[in-house]
């Protein structure tokens, strides 16, 4: 069962990476340790550190406005690409996509 689920996890991450325009995918835990990443270590650690704080801030903002609300997703659109962060209690799933139009 666990092994099957692990395979599913693998498959999910692989599928995300194969989508059009996706530059990199990474899974980071709350301490900034990259569990799974397709980019190099230094970039991943940089993203992890910076996005962790930003996600915490965004989450606290949402909850301050309405305590019953919660942050589900964070999207940062920049000139070059879009950074998408899906937060969890312990982990962060970060995907960098270049929406090519």
């Amino acid at each position: 069962m666990e092994i099957g689920e692990e395979a599913e996890v693998e498959e999910t991450l692989k599928r995300i990476q194969s989508h059009k325009g996706v530059i990199g995918t990474m899974v980071v835990n709350a301490e900034g340790i990259p569990i799974r990443t397709t980019l190099d270590n230094s970039t991943t650690v940089q993203y992890a550190g910076l996005l962790h704080h930003l996600t915490m801030k965004a989450k606290s903002t949402v909850r301050d406005i309405d305590p019953q609300n919660d942050l589900t997703f964070l999207r940062i659109r920049s000139k070059k690409h879009e950074i998408m962060v899906a937060p969890d209690k312990e982990y962060l799933l970060i995907v960098i996509q270049n929406p090519c139009e």
């Binding site: 996890v9 969890d88 312990e90 799933l93 929406p99």
Partner: protein, 605 residues
């Protein structure tokens, strides 16, 4: 010494109550007023006394010393691994990761997050929700707004003894940096202790220059190499050429030998387009234009003397104060001189005499700036005396367009790199004028007072939006112009080129007319007698003066004779026939008193 007071009291009297008794007032001393003392005082009337009912307060100010702060960031290189895992050991990290991946929490979390993420990714791919709508139509709005410009930043010379900012150069890549050359151009009046440093400023940080360049003598001009942005070329006040590499530091990398350099401050240095990217040339008021290769700065590779009589005499040479070179016309260059003449030269001419192709009459004073129009290189802009003029290479007798005479001297000018009809000028009273001659021809489209002191130099950034101007106290101001003045208007190129052509044609017609008239005059003069022409030519001041003298004396003698005749009639008194000057003048004045004799007197005097 101890002062001791012995207090004696009988023991039986201890604890006894005090008995107070009344007694009369005793007069101890009576000091009478002494009226004699009053003599020593003077009564003051009126007396100013301040009366205030409120609480007296005082005001104090305190200013803390300026605290210098620097912002630095810290970047983590490695995540927060638990104590038992050594991040450098690949095995341990892999083991840790595998352990996490087996964790149930992890699996559930990823499944859930994965599905949300996929949804958003697909969304992104389906529609670009952040695209720019109506991109094309924005161009129309821009034309309606009034031209404006605002100051973005000011860079002040950090030195205490202020020097003028004499030259500016933008960094070739991305224009994030500005090199400013500081020097004092007053002849031999540079204050003692003036630093000879010039700076490279980063636009983000106006408090402190990014790099200081330290030459042996102050720099008059400074240019970035357009091919290699680390290399800078500077022309010094003592005539030497210096070269820096910013990677190597602030000391001079290459310096030309003083024997072969210019003898006057170097007023123009420009990099040439060459395969090696190391060639440059410089001009100075000593009348020479020298070509250099920065790899070998001991000697110039070529020297041309700006002698328009084509005799290569340094004594006749005109001092060059501005230099122009356009990379699209690599063999031609132009020199603006101190005497006001503009010389167009060809570098590839066979003999040295042929290097000077033609001259333009220029201005009444030194030509401080010279630049070809980036869109129409046949037309160039010059600035000098109190006007700015636009010339065409075809019309050599006069400029095709010119501004009116201003109240202040013009110091520098530049074309806009994005609009062919726009140029900028700076003046000695600190104003920056922006001219747009498809919009208004008589006055600048926009006139801004940048600072109170004179502005010495001006440089436009390649995007046409940012302008940097340097002032007499070393303050460099960065201005941004409104987009209307920096984006190409719809029909502008055609309108500008047709204006240039029309004015060139007009000048050509005028030139032809002048030539015809001169020929006619020559023809008339040849028709007359030669002697007469000689006489006519010989009518100079002396002939006029002697003629006037004769007339004057004739009048005087006539009057004297009349007086003699009268005197003889009344009393026989001898009178001097030869008049002394003053007497004659007086009598002339009394007797004649007409406009003619006054004129004659003036001639004599």
């Amino acid at each position: 010494m101890e002062i001791v007071y012995v207090y004696v009291k009988k023991r039986s009297e201890f604890g006894k109550q005090c008995n107070f008794s009344d007694r009369q007032a005793e007069l101890n001393i009576d000091i009478m007023p002494n009226p004699e003392l009053a003599e020593q005082f003077v009564e003051r009337n009126p007396v100013d006394t301040g009366i205030q009912c409120s609480v007296s307060m005082s005001e104090h100010e305190a200013n803390t010393e300026r605290f210098e702060m620097e912002t630095r960031g810290v970047n983590h290189v490695e995540g927060g691994w638990p104590k038992d895992v050594n991040p450098l050991e690949l095995e341990q990290t892999i083991r840790f990761r595998k352990k996490v991946e087996k964790d149930e929490n992890y699996v559930n979390a990823i499944m859930q997050l994965g599905s949300i993420m996929e949804h958003c990714i697909k969304q992104n791919n389906a529609i670009d929700i952040y695209e720019e709508y109506f991109n094309d139509e924005e161009a129309v709005e821009v034309m309606e707004e009034a031209p404006s410009a605002k100051t973005i930043n000011v860079f002040r010379d950090p030195q205490e003894i202020k020097r003028a900012a004499t030259h500016l150069s933008w960094h070739p890549d991305g224009n994030r940096k500005l090199a400013v050359a500081y020097s004092c151009l007053d002849f031999q009046r540079a204050p003692v202790g003036m630093s000879s440093d010039s700076y490279i400023w980063d636009l983000e940080n106006p408090n402190k220059p990014e790099l200081a360049l330290k030459p042996s003598s102050p720099l008059v001009t400074l240019e970035f190499n357009p091919k290699d942005s680390h290399v800078l070329l500077g022309g010094c006040y003592n005539g030497q050429i210096a070269c820096w590499d910013t990677r190597k530091g602030s000391l001079v990398a290459e310096l030309s030998t003083i024997e072969f350099s210019h003898r006057d401050p170097v007023y123009g240095t420009i990099w040439l387009q060459s395969k090696t990217g190391t060639e440059c040339f410089s001009a100075s008021t000593d009348g020479q234009v020298m070509w250099w290769d920065i790899r070998k700065m001991s000697e110039p590779t070529e020297v041309v003397i700006m002698d328009i009589t084509k005799k290569e005499q340094l004594e006749n040479a005109l001092g060059a104060i501005s230099l122009e070179f356009e990379s699209t016309l690599p063999t031609k260059f132009m020199v603006g001189t101190e005497q006001g003449i503009i010389i167009s030269c060809n570098r590839k001419a066979k003999t040295s005499a042929e290097k000077i192709v033609c001259t333009f009459p220029g201005h009444h004073g030194p030509v401080y700036a010279l630049q070809r129009n980036p869109f129409y290189p046949k037309n160039f802009l010059t600035v000098g005396d109190w006007t700015a003029r636009i010339w065409s290479e075809d019309s050599r007798e006069s400029s095709i367009m010119w501004t009116k005479y201003h109240m202040a001297y013009l110091t520098d000018a530049a074309w806009s790199p994005t609009r062919p009809a726009v140029f900028f000028t700076t003046k000695m009273d600190g104003t920056l004028d922006i001219w747009d001659f498809v919009f208004k021809q008589c006055d600048p489209a926009l006139s801004l007072k940048v600072c109170d002191e004179a502005l010495f130099c001006l440089r436009v950034q390649d995007n046409g939006c940012l302008i940097a101007c340097g002032s007499q106290l070393g303050t460099t101001t960065l201005l941004e112009v409104s987009p209307g003045l920096s984006t190409l208007q719809r029909n502008e190129k055609n309108v500008a080129s047709s204006m240039f052509e029309r004015e060139t044609r007009r000048e050509k017609i005028l030139e032809a007319r002048h030539r015809e008239m001169r020929l006619k005059e020559k023809g008339k003069a040849e028709g007359r007698d030669e002697e007469q022409t000689d006489e006519d030519l010989a009518i100079d001041l002396e002939a006029l003066v002697s003629k006037a003298e004769e007339e004057f004396f004739d009048i005087i003698f006539a009057e004297l004779k009349k007086k003699e005749a009268d005197a003889i009639k009344l009393t026989p008194m001898p009178q001097q026939p030869s008049p002394e000057e003053d007497q004659a003048v007086e009598e002339g004045e009394e007797a004649a008193g007409e406009g003619k004799s006054e004129e004659v007197e003036e001639d004599l005097a």
